[in-house]
Symmetry: C2
Subunit: 223 residues, 2 copies
Amino acid sequence: MTFAVTVDLVVFTIRDDELCALTIRRGAPPYRGRWALPGGFVLEDEDLMDAARRELAEETGLDDRREHLEQLATYGAPRRDPRKRVVSVAYLALAAELPEPAAGSDAADARWHPVDELLSGSRRLAFDHDEILRDGLERARAKLEYSPLATAFCKAEFTVAELRHVYEIVWGVELDPRNFHRKVTSADGFLVATGEQTTRNGGRPAQLYRRGHAAVLNPPISR
Amino acid sequence: MTFAVTVDLVVFTIRDDELCALTIRRGAPPYRGRWALPGGFVLEDEDLMDAARRELAEETGLDDRREHLEQLATYGAPRRDPRKRVVSVAYLALAAELPEPAAGSDAADARWHPVDELLSGSRRLAFDHDEILRDGLERARAKLEYSPLATAFCKAEFTVAELRHVYEIVWGVELDPRNFHRKVTSADGFLVATGEQTTRNGGRPAQLYRRGHAAVLNPPISR
DNA sequence: ACTACTTATCGTCAAGTAGACGAGATATGA
DNA sequence: TCATATCTCGTCTACTTGACGATAAGTAGT
């Protein structure tokens, strides 16, 4: 028994105060005309993560290094693709605000959609991509708590307020600016002050930070 | 391009105060005579989780329901199996103390090995199974903190001390019995008292508990 | 320049939590 | 009966968390 193996991508970014996922409109059956997660077949001599990186670059023009990419889960129900048996390894990618994507090779159209809208039920994604998207959202929300993942949504240098904004958008809550500031600046290895300041958000100038070396947040940032 | 798809199992149990993993000795090349994780090919009309359950039952005779089983990660480096391109979906299984396993169909021998011993470097597992085992251990350790996973290592009814023992073995630390008792009994939905008591550990009789309905521990049990 | 407004950062206080550890309860075995 | 082991509850102190006051330091308008 042999299988086709694909990678599918849940790519999140924050645009206009909303968490958005990259979707492509399918140009061929099955599910022609429906929105789907970007993805494609794993090549003959290609590692899974490399395939994910390649697809991400093809769809977004990202330079491979700046964004976060991790394996999410693998989906292989017998009839998830009506044509043949396909096992799909899903990856979760997070990136700072990205431009409107250009249509890729096999996609009729590519676009950012707010995640809320995609998961509201009115617009069903192709295949089992609703489930994959939900799993990706869950993972992202959970990892914000105990990992420095939120910095992946920010540019290389960012302010505490910009970081807080990421948490607020992804979790859909409001956080107290003063307590948030205390927590992130005292979490060991989370943030490194650059010494520079910025006034790009108006008001008093804010310290700029870079992401630190910590892989785990201690203590975690609670929801 | 097509791939063979397998499931590999990281099965943990606690035996003689040690965390042990189930291993099989390979009866055929490649890696003939080396220890490996149990696993096998996914069948034509079989979901991935079903394949994992089937393999688990074949290797251990478990009844499918009593133990914890979750997807771990997927491994698909181009030459991880020298024969052909194989993508392996790894599952993590946890179970209460199990009997010495019987040799399965294609395995020359099956045995529990202490995880410390397997990861000490002296005994290399076949394929990339060392990496899979390490990832499984990491996952299990992490999930003990914020999920009721530790109960999967216990029988249906267990005492607080037995539960603490699980944490101590998996984490390799000593925990204060009094603080541990306070934490697990006050974590919402973690434990449900049965009303029965036992003296099976000597000393004053201990309350017996069953696992509660909680999926997440709040607050977590800290290492 | 002065005022109004915005955002950033620090400080305070009360309530809750965690870790160290004392102490009593209740079993077993000598 | 006594020693010993384990289980369970309590206490104390240090720390953390969340609510929120206050001040700092910019911009924009007049």
